[in-house]
Structure formats: C-alpha cells, structure tokens
Amino acid sequence: MKMRYSVNYIDDENFYFPSTQSHFQYRMDYLLDSIKSYCNIELESYIKRQNVSINNTIQKYFSKLIPNKFDAAKFYILPKVHKEYHKFPKGRPISSTCQTATKGLSQLLDKFLQPLMCYIPDLILDTSHFLMLLNNLRLNPRGNYALLTVDIESLYTNLNVRKAKEHCCDMFNIYKRLIEYPVQIENNALMRLMDWCLDNHFIKYKDKYYFQHKGIAMGGAASVSIANISVFYELKSLLKGPEVVFKVRFIDDLFLILDMNLITDLKEWITNQTNHNYLRFTYSFDSQSINFLDVRVSLNAENKIVTSLYKKPMNKHQYLHYDSNHPICNLKSIPFSQGIRILRICSEPETQVQEINSMIEKFHYRNYPVKLLNECIIKLQNLSREVLLRPKTKLVINILKINNPEILQMFDVSINNVTTINLTSKAFIVMPFYKSIYSFSRIIKNTIRSNIIKCQAEEVKSLALEIMCIVSYCKINNVQRLIECN
C-alpha cells in the first residue's frame, strides 16, 4: 500500500526546499502510475474517438520514454570568478537532467513546442540570425537613435509555471493547424505532458534531495521553448510603440533600437516599459555602441550599422590544445570555424583582418602548427561574408519565411520541407578515439570493405557496398572526467 506523502511549503520565497529520497520515490511512483493509467484509459477512448490505430497516437510514446534507471537531477555550481567577491564567489546553479525520469518526456514536449517558436516575431535563434536581421535594417541617416539591451533577471526560476503552461497550450492551440507534426497530440495530452515535465523536478546533491517548486527546470530539454513562448506572452504589451525601430530577443536578452526623436526621457521610458508583475529587468543603453550576445553593435556617422566581435573580458580563449587526444579533423576544424565566426560577425574588412590575426596568435599559443594556421588563413580569405550570412538551418529558414520573407528572397533560398531522416544508406560506426593508433579510421573502413568484397552473394555484396560507413569518435578521458572518475 502506498503512503500519502505531504511536505509543508514553509517559505514561498525559496526556489527549492529540502526533500527526502522517500518523497522523491513517492512522486516518481505517482508520476509513473499517472502515465500508465493515462495511457491505458485515454488511449482506448482516443482510438475509438479518432478511429486510428495505436501507431498513430502520441500515447504510445509516453510510457516508452521513461528510462529503466533514473534519479534526481544532479546539482552543481560554477563559481562566478569574473564578478567581485569577498571570500568565495557566488555560483551559477546548474542542474543536469541527464538521468532523470522526465528527460524523455521533456524531449518529446520540446518536439511539439519548438516549431511554435517560428511564430514568435521578435525571436532570434543565434548570432547569425541576429546579423541577418541587422543586415536587412536601414536607418534614417539623419535620425537620432539609441541602442538598448534589456536582460530579464533569473528568468527560469522566476517564471510562473501555471501561466507558462497556459501560454504554451494557447500558442499550440492557435498554430497547430499550420504545423505538420508527424504525430498528432490533443490539447489535454499536451497539458498532461507539461504537468509531468514541469511539476516533478527534483535535484540532488550528495544524497540530499531538493524539490524545485518555483520556476522551470534549468537544464530541462523543453525549458528553452517554454521560456521563449512564456516570455513572448508576458512581454506582449511591454517595450513596444512607434519609438521602437528594431527589436529582437534571445531567450531573456533583448536588443532594441529606439527613435530618440519620440522619447524625451529614456530612463523614464524604460522604467514605464519594463513594468511587470513578477519579472525584473536590468538594462544598458548607449547612442553609439552596445554589446549584445557576442556582437558589438555600433552606429556610424550616417547611422549605418557596424558590427564587430565582442569578447567578454573574462574570456581566456582556452581553445582545445593541439596535443590533445582528439581526431586531427577536429583539431583542424577549430581555427577554421572560429575564423568563419569572425568573418560573419565583423562587418568591416579591417576589423576582420585584425581579429583573425589575434585569433591565430591565440591558436599558436595552444601549440597549433604554423602550417595548419597558414592554410586556415588562405581558406578564410576565399570566403565572403555574404555567403556566410546565408540562412542554412531549417528552423532559421522557417522563421524567416514567416517573419522576414524578404531576407529569403534576397538570398534566393528555397524552402525544402524535409520532415524525415533517411539513414538507410549510412552506417555510423562510433568508436573510442586513440591518437596512438595510426590510421585508425582507415583500418576500420578497409576491414569492413574487404569483408564485404569476400561475400559470395552478388546481390548482397552490391547492396552492402552501397552503404556509406561513417566513422565517428566518442569523447574519452578528458582531464575533468579522469579526475571525477578516479
């Protein structure tokens, strides 16, 4: 017989409160029972109602996405050494949800919520997306503008879970017709999925259990999507008006360009525009230059937007050391990809050259051979910024298609709606990597090929030879892991 378990919520100001293993176990049993009963009862009626087979229903996923072994999320902190401290720095709390019971369900929830983000007008996905939008912006050369960045304080822990659930369901209800999900889900099933994911977040540190009763879980698979949708609804009536010339948001960071001809007192305007029931904001503004994400955005004399790379002062540029036991292709690609990042962000050729030289110097200190770095520079010289800013990922293309179709037209990008993944002609062989085994990848491929060739049946041989063997390497034995495992 299961015992009823109750916990007194003493202090409502706390994000976590102490719990016990038996409380954790009780809640997990309850969660599993709830999933089981939901699948059994609802599935039958759903199949009858919709006249579909079991394979077409979402319920088949629910119980299958519970891991055999699970525990509470692991909690740890990263000391904020870049901020001033007296004896010991404050820590950034992190909860790793890798082995939790709700990991799979959160991933499933994210599959439903992520496509909804295309319909959030001001949302940006990454720096490239931000640069694409900035590139498309033309300001009045004689105008008077201010650059403003706003940050929402401790967004995840301050979000109202009940409201977040409502916002996600509302948005799903409005846009589900426009999205082609491979599997259909009803509103009540989505709500149930959110209840399971958001109401059962336990964390653990050294055998002590804690329950998060405020905000959404940091590190949860669906947390970013939930936060994005919730903030969209919460800020709907804030930071808007004819004064706002340009506005974008990356989760909890906002970037705005304001027309100062329409604002008399900027501080007062910001205070009025960031008045919210439970979200708190910090901001900074400047008329010429401001930092947002990893970009320094500046306005020149003709109000043309100039971008350059912003490096945080605490950044130590600790790139992977060249002597590390990593595949050579990985080591070769790091300077090149960092170079691409510089070319994409820096709009002026002089800054590009300056930043690339500085980057090369840092790689030199990490033991990268001069020959490799020179080759990298030559390859980078053949690339143009326009090509690098071309939208590539499916999600960015879909967002641009809805919110900024003119950018897609400018780059002449066609939308290819690929919803399935074809893996039938590729075989991924995942190996542990050892630099000390000479031509490891070649040995693997050659052994497989020579065995296929030996095959007697011609049909099988030709089919097997068509399969592309891709050798990929899993991460092994980095210093941190070795210390923790020792």
């Binding site: 909690f75 000391p79 599997v183 036991n325 993944i421 399969i467």
Partner: protein, 191 residues
C-alpha cells in the same frame, strides 16, 4: 620522510622534457587557474595539466575491449541495413521515432541482437580478430601526461580537501576547498 612529489618517479626524461615544453607554451596564455583555496600552493605539474584545459584529452593506452565492442556494433549496424535493403523493408523515420529509438537504445545498453544476415552472408568469424590484430600492430604510444600524473593530481586534491570545477563563462578552472563549495551550494539550495 614522505615524497612530496611522488609523480616525479614515474616520468621518464623524455616525458619530462615534453611536459616542460607544454608548460612553456601554456605560460604564453593568460592564467586560467583560479586558486580560491589561497593558503594551498599548487605544484608546477598540476598547474601544467590544468593550463591545458579541462577538455584536454589525455593519451592513455587503448582499451582494446571497448574498440572490439564498438567494431562489433558497427558490423551489426551494417548487417541490419543490408538485411533491410535485401527484403525491401527500408523505412525512414521521423524525429519522434528517432527519440523513441534513442531511448530504447539507452534502456538496453548491452543488447546484442545480431541478425543471421551479418554472420552468414557478410562477415566471417575472423573479421573481428583480424581487425584487432591490425589495431594492435598500429599502436605506438609515448603519452605526455601519464596516468600517474592524473592520479597524483587526484591525491593532491584529496589530501588538501580540494575540489576542481570549471569557472562560469568559460573563465578557466577553479580550485577551491570542498567546504567552501558545499557551503555555497547549500546556501543556494536553502536560500
């Protein structure tokens, strides 16, 4: 008297030279180690290891058993793909199926569901042993950072009751007293 740096006994002269070369190169970059356990002095060899970064992968002797297992798994995949091709059972799966498949794999980590196709048609019994022979013949190693160095680092941390964590915003590595770290954690959890 106890040897203060037991690790020195395990490093050959060549390795010591290589280690010194590594130390010299890491000295050119800004200091990435934050010693929050101030009275404790961090030895030179520990500084060298930590300057390489926590993502530095240490050269260790290969685990031939795991290589063998991974190779067998690769053969199994090829066997199944060929089987599906022969019987025209190929089907591409959507993102939801991929998620389900990953979970199935995670829940049955050691499943060895071999199909007769790969044994009977594709690969003879000696494939794996031949492969392993080749791998062993190609192995040649003189690791710069020997396992003993890592062990001694661990001993040093344990003796001084220290803990090692990456700093926030990728600002380097923090060495701190375990008590201070736990105090901060409990402070956050009981805030």
């Amino acid at each position: 008297m106890r040897n203060k740096y037991p690790v020195r006994n395990h490093i050959s002269r060549i390795q010591n030279g290589k280690l010194y070369k590594l130390y010299k190169t890491t000295q050119l970059t800004p200091d990435t180690i934050h010693n929050l356990a101030v009275p404790v002095k961090i030895p030179f060899y520990i500084k060298t290891i930590l300057c390489l970064g926590l993502n530095y992968s240490v050269s260790v002797p290969p685990n031939f058993q795991s290589i063998k297992h991974a190779f067998k798994e690769g053969l199994r995949k090829i066997g199944w793909i060929t089987h599906f091709k022969i019987f025209n059972k190929e089907s591409s799966f959507n993102e939801f199926d991929k998620l389900l498949h990953n979970f199935k794999k995670f829940n049955n980590k050691n499943f060895s569901n071999f199909h007769s196709t790969e044994e009977g048609i594709l690969f003879d019994k000696n494939t794996v042993s031949n492969f392993m022979r080749q791998v062993v013949s190609k192995y040649k190693s003189q690791p710069v950072i020997v396992t003993e160095l890592i062990n001694s680092l661990h001993t040093f941390m344990e003796e001084n009751n220290l803990i090692l964590k990456p700093a926030d915003k990728n600002a380097g590595v923090c060495i701190m007293f375990l008590n201070d770290y736990e105090n901060e954690i409990f402070c956050q959890l009981h805030r």
